[in-house]
């Protein structure tokens, strides 16, 4: 018996085979934020999070978007997840417009974000069952699917019923991956899935992402600031800098374009800044709660 969510099976089989997995044209998103130095009562000013971003991801490809904190990576992921409305341009997922056909897209997309967000008092099994219900999976289906997916991500069976708050961050991130895969998304959005993980957990998560690519017909958009991860996992790499996508090419082409040996050097050549010299952290976050 398939462990796929029934709604996903049905939609995936009816997808337009010709349409790219992701098609983004001149996408714009501007937030308004207050200049902290100008004081609490200063007027908010527009801050472009995405500035005319254009790219296409064919079905089955794994693409990485690199960028510093505040470069617009999370905004892009949230737009494709239907959690934000764009200010201009368009974004399509398997031919469906993210603003106008959000309910269709929600069945096709799932994501893993930097924070493994769960109900902390609920166990891994309970959290996964809850998430699966939204995709039409009944208790009978999750009784077999949840242990199966947890064992695939290497989650210890004896801790399935332990509250999430008692699990390490690495464990929680594995459950987050399991949650995303439980619904068998055809587009998987990974927003810094290994940030903050210890080296071993990071390698395990990366290996699992490779496994997903091998075994599922999933398209992956990975946003990270980990150059090695980008190089190890992706077919193409792009740099998002202050809301502008500078390029999106295979890693070797990027290096050749700038005549450098590493992606760090390519980043410096493309932006004129060191990758580590990050700007204001979490600009969007401040915007929201300003």
């Amino acid at each position: 018996m398939s462990t796929l969510a029934p709604s996903t099976i049905d939609l995936a089989s009816r997808l337009d085979r010709q349409a790219p997995a992701v098609e983004v044209r001149d996408l714009r998103k501007t937030f308004r934020r207050r200049d902290r130095k100008a004081g609490r009562f200063a007027r908010k000013r527009p801050w472009p999070a995405l500035d005319d971003v254009t790219f296409t991801i064919p079905r089955g490809e794994c693409v990485t978007i690199l960028g510093q904190n505040g470069s617009g990576k999370s905004t892009l992921v949230r737009l494709l997840s239907t959690l934000l409305l764009s200010d201009g341009g368009e974004a399509r997922v398997f031919g469906h417009d993210v603003d106008r056909e959000a309910s269709t897209i929600r069945r096709l997309v799932n994501r893993v974000s930097v924070e493994a967000s769960f109900f902390k008092k609920m166990s891994a099994s309970e959290n996964l069952s809850y998430a699966a219900r939204f995709y039409g999976m009944t208790p009978r289906q999750t009784r077999t699917a949840v242990p199966e997916i947890l064992s695939r991500v290497g989650f210890p069976p004896d801790r399935r019923n332990e509250a999430m708050e008692n699990l390490s961050r690495g464990m929680q991130q594995k459950v987050a991956l399991a949650r995303a895969l439980l619904t068998s998304p055809v587009l998987l959005l990974l927003d810094e899935p290994t940030t903050g993980l210890d080296p071993r957990s990071k390698l395990e998560v990366q290996e699992f992402i490779r496994q997903v690519r091998r075994e599922h017909d999933a398209t992956i958009l990975l946003c990270t600031h980990d150059m090695a991860e980008a190089e190890a996992l992706s077919d193409r790499v792009g740099i998002l800098d202050r809301g502008r996508l500078l390029f999106l090419e295979p890693v070797e082409d990027v290096k050749r374009r700038f005549g450098v040996a590493t992606l760090e050097e390519a980043f410096f050549a493309a932006t004129g800044r060191e990758f580590e010299a990050e700007e204001n952290d979490d600009d969007e976050y401040r915007e929201v709660f300003a």
Binding site: P6, S7, D10, F31, R32, T75, R78, S81, T82, L83, L84, L85, S103, R106, R107, V109, R111, S113, E115, S117, F118, F119, K120, K121, M122, E126, S129, Y130, A131, A132, R133, F134, Y135, G136, M137, T138, A163, R179, E284, Y285, E287, V288, F289
Partner: protein, 274 residues
């Protein structure tokens, strides 16, 4: 399976998921719930004891006053649970960090909010029943003519309106992450003040009596008191306003929520709090 049938099935499974999640959380926070129950009982006793301080009242009159106060306090507690669940639908998820996953899931907003409301009504009814009978037993309140069936039926009917109004307030934390939940409690307080929670609506200024006419709590309180004190059945005078408010409140609540959700998506407020 046709597309409509598949979608309906998925939404029903999603509705079950919302109720199931709240059951898990109630189980995990059982001791907190127990403490809250004790606090609610103590708080209700402080109100109902006022009846015994009425000078020159006969024991029968005191019993009636106590019942009036107890019904008011019980419905206040019931309504409080519904408003808390609805208003904090967004606030809880923002705090737990799950808000983005819930709002990007293929669950219709009606099912999402109605599921939350359905659990709140169920949970609120259990708590209200315990509260009523524990306090009544503690004080020795007699209600020999009580028609509990009619009172429960009226409360169930009023719950539909309460869920609709709760949906309206649940949008507040979406628009204002910091102050939204508090504004929801303001709405709850205002509704009870104008609905005659511990007194007759007629003692209020006329303009407040006009507001009382559109509050479902007015009819729930009036009807429940009549059923418990006088043994009255379901009275049409209380039923028809509740039916009208129920039919209007949920679609209006959903429309307001949709506008709020769009605003949140436009301004990037549909995200976790840390």
């Amino acid at each position: 399976m046709s597309e409509f049938a598949l979608e309906t099935r998925n939404q029903l499974v999603g509705l079950f998921g919302i109720v199931e999640r709240n059951m898990y959380l109630t189980k995990r926070y059982f001791l907190w719930d127990l403490a809250f129950m004790v606090w609610t009982i103590a708080n209700t006793l402080t109100i109902v004891f006022i009846a015994r301080a009425v000078p020159d009242a006969t024991p029968a009159q005191i019993n009636t006053y106590e019942t009036v106060f107890l019904v008011g306090a019980t419905i206040w507690a019931f309504l409080g649970i519904i408003f808390e669940f609805m208003t904090e639908t967004v606030a809880w998820e923002r705090w737990e960090g799950t808000i983005e996953y819930t709002f990007m899931a293929p669950l219709s907003r009606f099912v999402h909010l109605f599921g939350q409301g359905a659990f709140a009504v169920l949970y609120g009814l259990i708590r209200a029943t315990i509260l009523f009978f524990v306090v009544a037993a503690f004080l020795g309140i007699h209600a020999p003519d009580a028609n509990y069936g009619a009172a429960l039926a009226l409360l169930a009917l009023a719950s539909i309106s309460f869920i609709g109004i709760g949906i309206m307030t649940s949008v507040l934390p979406l628009i204002s992450p910091e102050k939204g939940a508090q504004l929801g409690f303001v709405c709850q307080g205002v509704m009870l003040v104008v609905s005659g929670v511990y007194y007759s609506v007629s003692v209020m200024p006329e303009w407040m009596q006009w507001i009382a006419k559109i509050s479902p709590a007015t009819y729930a309180l009036r009807g429940c008191r009549a059923s418990i004190i006088d043994g009255a059945g379901l009275q049409w005078a209380n039923v028809w306003p509740l039916l009208i408010i129920a039919v209007l409140a949920t679609p209006i609540g959903l429309a307001i929520f949709r506008v709020g959700e769009r605003h949140a998506k436009k301004h990037g407020k549909l995200k976790r709090a840390g």
